[in-house]
Amino acid sequence: MGTIDINGKSVETDEEGYLVNLNDWDEAIGGELAKSENVAMTEQHWEVVNFLREYYNEFQIAPAVRVLTKAIGKKLGPEKGNSQYLYELFPYGPAKQACKIAGLPKPTGCI
Amino acid sequence: MLNIVNKSPLDRNTLQTCLDAGTGGAILLIEDGVYAATRGNAFESKLKAVQGNYKLFALGPDLDARGVGDRVSDGVTVVDYAGFVDLVTEYKTCQSWL
């Protein structure tokens, strides 16, 4: 268990650094989570993170990487819906890293 | 006596045994037990048949969780957690059927 402290707010994380409470998330927290993953956030990164948050909101799960790739392709176009693009943004696993930054639990089907 | 039943009547015979053994009082349906108190359930008629002997209650949050809060059988009173506590204090004895 750890905490992230920013802007006078302190939020809990689990032993792997994922947010304990999804509702604690805001962009500042997302930025701190990105720093802990050594990811320099760009507009493209936020696009994926926001997509994941919307996906979670709709289906209550963080999608497996194969599902994420396909769903992003459907929504944002084939040039973004491929694993090369997503791994360039999130080298240690798009589902795992982007989910953490998005404040979601570890993806279901992340093996 | 207050009987508390938390099993679906179509999965386990708990509610049936409660009815067979009991002589009256109240039945509070909670958790999967609430399905017994929904319209169209195959157990509905058996509950109807004992309404003269038992006051029937079902726990609202459990009905809502299962998406059946809008199809509660006639004659069944929906209670919240505070109502649950009131029932437990109202009756001399209470049996939680497992």
């Binding site: 999608p63 | 399905y35 969780a65």
Partner: protein
């Protein structure tokens, strides 16, 4: 890798026991292996798909919405026993995702065609 036919058989109501959620999670995890997966819902298992779960009051995470993601995981063969629906006063219109309603005998036949059956 050769593809096998997997059927997940769901016979328990949601929330009262953990079987429904466990089954759903295994389905989602198993989908990574790209097998031929189908789900059957019998007995109280049909309650898993009942529309309108509001789980705030019991302070549990609801998982009705997650059935909607099955299609993204290429799991789109959902078979529901019509006798089980009828015994619970339900019809296909009461369910949260599109399914194929069929007789118990027809589901039994499908079970015979499977390589692996996982019962929850």
């Amino acid at each position: 890798m050769t593809t096998k036919k997997f059927m997940f058989v769901n016979r328990k109501a949601p929330y009262g026991t953990v079987y429904a959620l466990e089954s759903l999670e295994v389905v989602l995890i198993g989908a990574a292996f790209e097998q031929d997966v189908s789900l059957a819902f019998l007995d109280d298992g049909v309650y898993q798909l009942k529309k309108g779960h509001q789980t705030k009051g019991i302070e549990m995470k609801g998982f009705e919405k997650t059935y909607g993601a099955l299609d993204d995981y290429d799991v789109n063969k959902l078979y529901v026993d019509e006798e089980s629906l009828a015994a619970r006063g339900l019809t296909a219109d009461d369910l949260c995702v599109p399914v194929e309603v069929m007789s118990r005998a027809a589901i039994g036949k499908l079970m015979e065609e499977q390589d692996v059956l996982l019962s929850f």
